[in-house]
Symmetry: C2
């Protein structure tokens, strides 16, 4: 303990011993990751995630935190805490243990819940999103505690089980448990580093509105010979509604959709323009209106979007069935930027949809607000230094995550600065078949959090 913490020494030097421990324990860390990936926790299926949460709480304790499984009304939150001293700053760490559905199963090269390592990557649902990322924080704390017996700062950690269904209980739970969550800033690892492998620091998240559209036009499916072309067809009517959401130019046609979008700050535009980008997927799969990788990134970081993520009606099985579908459903997801409010946007979309087809019912499945921490916040600077030390490259600083994490509960509900430091590889295939995490990045993630812990020591 002699050399810890020593304000006269640069914090970077304190990382050496934990880094060495992490290097020695790589195989054990990968076994732990495989173990938690093999515990399915698909929140969209409505399974009981309590047992998975209990196992995670035990893992937290193994890593040196006090831990408890706390109810939310939905899947429980795994709460962790290590308080070293009132005089030390506190980092609030967020992660999620739930995962996306695995369908279509046939598109996976190996079973999604039987993790396998191929070419330096671990494949399995949840490897990168988000188990490998919050496990990295836990292993970092374990290594620091084994090296020094204490952490350089206080830590509070919450790992929720409903992120992939839009965190329906998180905002209320955080508001009700604010006394447990006092901290200086929030720290989340989710998403991916730059495709080149350079680390990134993100200062916000797009919001998410998820809508389900349902249309019923008849009491039952009918025979297409007797009634085709003379009675209403739900598949056709809803297809036309879906088509109406975008103009022929591919832009969102819902009136007012962009009205609340705040003009991005100059430094946000500059940050995006400075990103060294290449096409992350075959250019042929991009829409023609996206004229460069930089344009792609500006669109997904600074602008909102409306996506249709599912469509179902009538007979979709093998061969044929000659019916007129009585019902049709569609799923829409909307990514929001400041200052769009999900409920306002839900109302605009509902009004537009009803103007096309008055019988369509629109249900809000999830509503997560966007969030933003100013790029010039001191927390952003300090975290960026710590990331640079761990990755041996300065991070790219993004104004926002293209995807959605419920960061607004920190920036809005708790009024904290919040940064997101992803450890996933850009081709992690999260939300898709063959999700994987590059193991090198998993281990770098643990180094990163060791470095962050030390960077905020007084």
């Amino acid at each position: 303990m002699a050399d810890y913490p020593d304000a006269n020494n640069p914090w970077r030097g304190r990382c050496r011993i934990p880094f060495e421990r992490l290097d020695r324990e790589r195989a054990a860390a990968e076994r732990t990751l495989a173990k938690i990936v093999s515990q399915p926790a698909v929140s969209a299926k409505g399974d009981d995630l309590g047992p998975v949460a209990e196992r995670l709480a035990r893992l937290m304790r193994d890593c040196g935190l006090e831990s408890a499984v706390l109810p939310t009304g939905g899947a429980p939150i795994v709460f962790g805490k290590r308080k070293e001293s009132d005089r030390l700053p506190t980092i609030l760490v967020y992660g999620h243990y739930d995962v996306q559905p695995v369908e279509p199963l046939s598109a996976w090269s190996s079973d999604p819940f039987t993790p396998v390592i191929r070419d330096g990557r671990m494949y399995g649902r949840g490897t990168a999103d988000n188990k490998g990322q919050h496990l990295a924080q836990l292993l970092a704390m374990k290594a620091v505690l084994e090296a020094y017996g204490r952490l350089p700062v206080n830590v509070v950690m919450i790992v929720e089980g409903e992120e992939e269904i839009g965190s329906p209980n998180l905002e209320r739970w955080v508001a009700e448990h604010a006394h447990l969550l006092r901290a200086d800033f929030a720290y989340t690892s989710d998403g991916a580093v730059h495709p080149s492998g350079r680390p990134v620091v993100l200062c916000g998240s797009r919001g998410l509105l998820y809508l389900e559209l349902t249309l019923r036009v008849a009491s039952a499916d009918r025979h297409s010979g007797n009634f085709g072309g003379v009675s209403r067809n739900a598949a056709l009517e809803l297809a036309r509604v879906i088509g109406s959401l975008w103009g022929d130019d591919g832009e969102i046609a819902v009136p007012g959709f962009c009205d609340a979008v705040a003009e991005p700050a100059d430094e946000e535009r500059a940050a995006v323009a400075a990103l060294p980008l290449t096409w992350p997927i075959p250019a042929s799969e991009m829409l023609p209106r996206v004229d460069s990788p930089s344009d792609w990134f500006g669109r997904v970081l600074l602008r909102p979007n409306l996506n249709v993520s599912g469509l179902g009606s009538g007979w979709t099985g093998p061969s044929m069935k000659t019916v007129i579908p009585a019902t049709a459903t569609a799923k829409l997801d909307v990514r929001l930027v400041p200052d769009q409010d999900p409920h306002d946007v839900a109302r605009l979309i509902t009004e537009w949809v009803r103007a096309q087809a008055p019988d369509v019912e629109v249900d809000v499945i999830s509503a997560v607000k966007p969030s933003r921490t100013p790029l010039d916040s001191p927390v952003v600077e300090r975290v960026s230094q710590a990331v640079e030390f761990a990755w041996e490259h300065p991070p790219l600083v993004y104004p926002s995550l293209a995807g959605t994490v419920p960061d607004f509960v920190f920036t809005s509900t708790l009024a904290l600065p919040s940064v997101i430091v992803p450890y996933g590889n850009a081709d992690q295939a999260n939300h898709a078949p063959d999700e994987n995490m590059l193991l090198d990045f998993f281990h770098k993630g643990a180094r990163t959090f060791v470095s962050v812990l030390h960077a905020f020591a007084p």
Copy 2:
């Protein structure tokens, strides 16, 4: 045998004894119907229908026919035959033992393959479409044979197992087995009588073209946060293609779709105009452009139609999944009238679809030609007289069935006159949940075929 057949006596008198036998055997007939309905034969599922065919062949033998199960390459054809004399005319009887899929199962009031009788109807998949109808012919022959020891005409019967998937093997099989099928006319019972309960005689069938549209725009589903609005979305693109198939006026927008449609004959228009019709479903479920029941019937008997019977893409399960679907599929069914050729229409639709979205693949799942027998054919007149005798009402004579039976194999391949005499009730819910057959009509069906057999005795 003394009083049979006697050309000096009117044929109607010869029906009395078989009618009485049918009346006495109603309970047994209903038990037989329940038994065959309880044998699932969903051709769309690709099950082995051989065992069901074998049981039907045994039933044919019980009813006095020679019978054999003959291979087709797909589900076998149950062939039946009773040859009384070279000097007698021969009726070629057609039916199908396969049934539609039952989904959505939850919409059924009782199990589709556990037939139950409620309010004078038997409920179950296949009751009316088509088991109750071809069973009526068999029970009619059994009653005549029990009464007189022979039939007044020769009968050849084929009951196929692929009608609900568009009879993919029937045309070739019929051409190859024309020597077994020599007859004076073809007789089919399928579909429904008039909603008022009046019998009908149909002189043709609309054709059916069934297409599957498949669109793949990416190698895998992608995360809607990272790629939404910048990469291609199969659900959206296919929804727009589906929407493009119809104009805003609801009319089919595919160029040339109606070019080959022959102008209906005056007597065909007159026959439709003379039909006493009421709305068969709530008027609110009809499209506004259909201004009267007569307009409805003219459209479904004399005009072609294009229907979307299924649409599927992305996540349609519970809750949410934020993906950009890589693939989308749609099922289209097209009803054709003379002189439309299904393959020509498939080409027109494919060209139009490809003009909207060049990547869409279009597969022909089924192609059944339309058929028509002239309303003034002597066969139509004689059958109509026989139907009138059995139902105690003159039939309504329709130029065509609104739905599709593969009648063209008789009118085109074998160049025979062909009539369709449905025994089903108008609210039979065929192709839909709670399919049922009014038992009174099932029994009237058996009387009808007794009467038809006698009407063609020399």
